[in-house]
């Protein structure tokens, strides 16, 4: 069994074990959903951007990085 299939089965088993498995929702749909989520990428963190200010003293490095992303 490939790592990919084994990984998906583990993920599915976890969902089933928590009783949140929607009726008629199968592993193929879960994989499609996961691909869709991944394809969106990480759009950054809007909450963080609202925290950035010019006198952000202690975490200037992170602030600069996020500022760069925000103005790209």
């Amino acid at each position: 069994m490939s790592d990919y299939v084994e990984r998906n089965q583990k993920a599915m088993s976890l969902i089933v074990s928590r009783g949140l498995f929607a009726k008629e929702f199968n592993m193929q749909q879960l994989v499609e959903l996961s691909r869709e989520v991944s394809a969106l990428g990480s759009p950054g963190d809007l909450v963080s951007w609202t925290l950035i200010s010019h006198d952000y003293v202690y975490t200037g490095r992170a602030a600069d990085k996020i500022d760069t992303i925000a103005h790209r």
Binding site: E6, R7, N8, K10, A11, S13, L14, I15, R18, L20, F21, A22, K23, E24, F25, Q29, L30, V31, L33, S34, V37, S38, L40, G41, S42, D45, V47, S48, L51, I52, S53, D55, Y56, V57, Y58, T59, A62, A63, I66
Partner: protein
């Protein structure tokens, strides 16, 4: 992390201070930040050498130029206020800063909507210090379901508010909830990311929170020792003063961690804890990279090997509920028309 390392850090910091004084450049932003934070670190390290350096740093920061700076803009007092709480031998100028800060704070002028929330809390903390009052704010409220998605800046806000609560790790703090599993997860994440500054700050938080487990603390001691070895480089040498200006922060945090642990410092690398950290660190990369299947499968592995992780369960429940909702949307969308 040997005792002598703290002394070396102090010596390099003293050399940098000498250079700043010789250049008369304490008001350069990077130097101002260094001197301010060195005042906090030396107060917390607290040995004779540290306290002697603290006095010299205080004299450099609260110098003749202070009055001119405040005349240009009285709100500049905010920049000096945190350091004023940690100068061990305050001068009349230091006391003037505290008085002016208290006056502006009471008028509401030290807070600003554009500040990160924890910077406004910092203003409250400084004011409480100036009045001789206690300070407590629980920064961990509401993070149970957002923990895996916290940004680096969110984590800094947690560590810093805990520092205000605990006098930068000097006092042990009890929180209404059990925050230790959350701290452990964030430590595993910082370790996995190689983010030494955040890692060391989190280690201080864990060590100064009620209920800290001795086995975890010994493991954390080993992480701190390893972090210091990385920061000092393979030859164990601290960076020279001009480079130290850019690298002092994690070194100071390491020294504060060492001071927090005191005689209990006893590094021990527990293999099982290390394995668990690696799994959790990997999981959190998967979720931040939006690899849903990898995250769920990785968590299934964690459950199989160590059981459910209490610090991740609330976020997992939330995520699975969202998976179920998405699934419901899809099954309805593709249901045959009646």
């Amino acid at each position: 992390m040997e005792d002598g390392v703290g002394g070396d850090i102090l010596q390099v910091a003293a050399n940098l201070l000498d250079a700043i004084i010789a250049e008369n450049s304490v008001l350069k932003p990077e130097n101002f930040k260094f001197v301010s934070e060195a005042i906090i670190a030396t107060a917390r390290i607290g040995n004779d050498d540290a306290l002697a350096l603290n006095t010299r740093l205080g004299e450099a920061l609260f110098s003749d130029s202070l009055r001119s700076v405040l005349l240009r803009n009285p709100r500049s007092v905010v920049m000096y206020a945190m350091a004023s709480c940690f100068v061990v031998t305050p001068s009349s100028r230091t006391m003037a800063v505290i008085d002016l800060f208290a006056r502006l704070h009471d008028a509401g002028a030290t807070r600003a909507l554009h500040h990160p929330a924890y910077r406004n809390l910092e203003m409250d903390y400084i004011a409480a210090n100036a009045r001789g009052d206690g300070f407590f704010h629980d920064p961990f409220v509401g993070i149970a379901e957002s923990l895996p998605w916290l940004t680096r800046d969110h984590i800094y806000s947690l560590t810093h508010v805990h520092f205000y609560n605990s006098y930068f790790g000097a006092r042990c703090i009890s929180y209404p909830g059990n925050i230790l599993p959350w701290l452990e997860i964030l430590i595993a994440r910082a370790r996995h990311d190689g983010d030494l500054d955040v890692l060391l700050e989190l280690l201080i938080c864990y060590a100064s929170t009620s209920g800290a487990q001795p086995a975890q603390l010994a493991f954390h001691d080993s992480l701190a020792a390893a972090a210091l070895a990385i920061l000092c480089g393979p030859d164990g040498q601290l960076p020279p003063p001009d480079m130290f200006r850019d690298h002092y922060h994690p070194l100071f945090v390491a020294a504060i961690y060492r001071a927090t642990r005191g005689a209990d410092f006893a590094p021990h690398r527990d293999v099982a804890i290390a394995r668990r950290h690696e799994m959790i660190g990997r999981l959190l990369v998967d979720i931040r990279q939006t690899d849903l299947m990898a995250y769920l499968a990785g968590y299934a592995d964690h459950v199989a090997e160590f059981g459910p992780e209490p610090g991740l369960e609330p976020a997992l429940a939330l995520q699975l509920a969202l998976v179920a909702a998405a699934a419901e949307d899809r099954t309805q969308a593709f249901a045959p028309a009646r």
